[in-house]
Subunit: 335 residues, 2 copies
């Protein structure tokens, strides 16, 4: 009841199983004429190799690494949690996932982590730095497939990017910010680091929409909070000292500091942040945050593994496979 097998192809091509096998796995020793006949039969019957059976037979085990910042709070914690959950499920499919934690914003540490990896493919979440790009390039040159996760590294020569469209994420934030702010006012934007591609792209998108469609708002210069709660809190309190903030767009992490700061402000600015974490969920519920734009990192991890498998099999993954969806949460639709 499930598709045609090598047997059907052999029959259709009027050759033996051995010959079909030789053609399919290009073992050579088959005349050009017969190769064509087999290829035609494959096309005609619609045969597709049963990867599961193939891997079973050859005892292939995929070995993938995730090189991601460590951290026990916020988004990275969710990422590690998602990885841990998937790890179990993936073992059933003969996929071994190794997680290599790095220090966030520490280029040297991240480069070191990328060295001496022993696996078929790597997923990297890192900021943009020439050293990292170089290391990825050399990994790639040595036959390891590399994908960038969450934040893209386009000039590294990575094979694929798995993550959201961050410009779109910023534009979306901008749209809701503009609509939620009833009158005009000052809007504060806080990124973690502008060297992180995801942050700078979000900022770009946010700025575009605010300028195009909500000209009444004034954008303050973008601040960098280093994904650090204390710094973020300080930035907000400082900005609010001599002006009324109508809105705050927090692009990176450090939301616990943001919550503390916003709770001291009256009137409360419209506050839009990224990533649905326990902190942001609670802040949404209590009305401190107005909107959370989330990337479903579990689906990101799943997509990453799928793409890494495709890449190591040398089959081109579908074009939109790496694009993960943006989820928008307000206080009414968090579960």
């Amino acid at each position: 009841m499930s598709g045609p097998t090598v047997r059907d192809v052999a029959e259709a091509a009027q050759v033996s199983l051995a010959t079909v096998d030789r053609v399919l796995n290009n073992r050579g020793g088959v005349s050009a004429k017969v190769v064509d006949r087999v290829r035609a039969a494959v096309a005609r019957t619609g045969y597709v190799r049963n990867l599961a059976a193939a891997n079973l037979s050859r005892r292939r085990v995929y070995r993938f690494c995730f090189v991601v910042p460590s951290g026990d709070t916020g988004f990275v914690a969710l990422l590690h949690e998602a990885l841990a959950r998937e790890q179990q499920r993936l073992m059933e499919e003969q996929v071994l996932v190794q997680v290599v934690p790095t220090k966030a914003f520490d280029v040297e540490d991240q480069v070191a982590a990328l060295r001496n990896l022993d696996c078929d493919a790597v997923a990297v979440m890192a900021s943009e730095a020439p050293e990292i790009n170089e290391e990825i390039a050399s990994l790639h040159a040595s036959g390891v497939r590399v994908i960038s996760l969450v934040a893209d590294l386009p000039s590294s020569g990575r094979d694929a990017y798995v993550g959201p469209d961050n410009v779109m994420a910023g534009r979306t934030a901008g749209e809701f910010m503009g609509r939620f702010i009833r009158d005009q006012g000052d809007v504060l934007m806080i990124a973690g680091s502008l060297a992180a591609r995801d942050h700078s792209e979000r900022l770009l998108g946010f700025r575009m929409v605010m300028q195009e469609r909500f000209g009444g708002c004034t954008l303050l210069p973008a601040a960098q909070g280093g994904d650090n709660a204390g710094r973020v809190e300080q930035i907000v309190l400082e900005a609010a000292r001599d002006r009324r903030l109508a809105g705050i767009y927090a692009i990176g992490a450090g939301n616990r500091g943001l919550v503390r700061a916003v709770r001291t402000l009256d009137p409360k600015p419209i506050t839009i942040v990224h990533e649905l974490t326990p902190t942001s969920r609670e802040a949404l519920r209590s009305g401190t945050f107005d909107l959370v734009i989330d990337q479903d990192i579990l689906s990101g991890v799943i997509a990453a593994v799928k793409i890494m498998r495709d890449l190591t099999e040398a089959t081109t993954p579908p074009a939109d496979a790496g694009r993960i969806k943006l989820n928008i949460y307000s206080r009414e639709n968090i579960q």
Copy 2:
């Protein structure tokens, strides 16, 4: 190189392969003591089932039916498309999916469709009617597992519900409606049919939020458009004749009529609808609609199949397996 197999477990537990198999696939007929010993051996050896081998060997074929309204536009069209796409993928997992189209809102036709189904489990999308509930109960009595899809049928005795939390969907619509409407005004709500559980629940949630938090808005009596574009258009034009509409919440289908009507209104009311279809997508992009609340029906279909498989295997599916997420789309985050 790949992990331990059943053989290793058998050896570790000092039992035969047959017994390990009996425990792993809970076939019964094993004493509690031995079950424990095998379980311990599984934990000790770190055995994980090889899914590829399992699927390869399994010859059980699951036969599932989807009894859903026919239609070549709007949400139901997306549903059929999702079913068609999944059907292909599922064949590889020995799942046969049969789609039985019914006439929307035609109780007699739907009851007839439910009769004489020959399968292991059924997913039903239908309005609430005593006849349908009865038919489902009798199906259930004859050993067929039944789940309700998109719209719940709680009093039918169905085994599970797969769909969004529609009260939450309505509350979410209410929240954004309240925030988007800058001044006070009249809000029109158009359902398809209040007999459809999803519609009445959305209405309930919307009303609750508007009354609780946005008292400035006046809710007009809920209209029923029968999921029909012409009727919906007529309802809007009529309501807008002698008053200014500040907002429209369209709960069901018929969005093409809504687009036509809203384009004639000035000032344009804030318009929030359900389901991301080609029509609503285009209306979002052009600014006719302000927000679309979408249930990702493909993930719904996937969840439905998974639950049906669990049910026919007599393993209880996880509690939240049937809950499908609500996606919120504005003009900036449609791809």
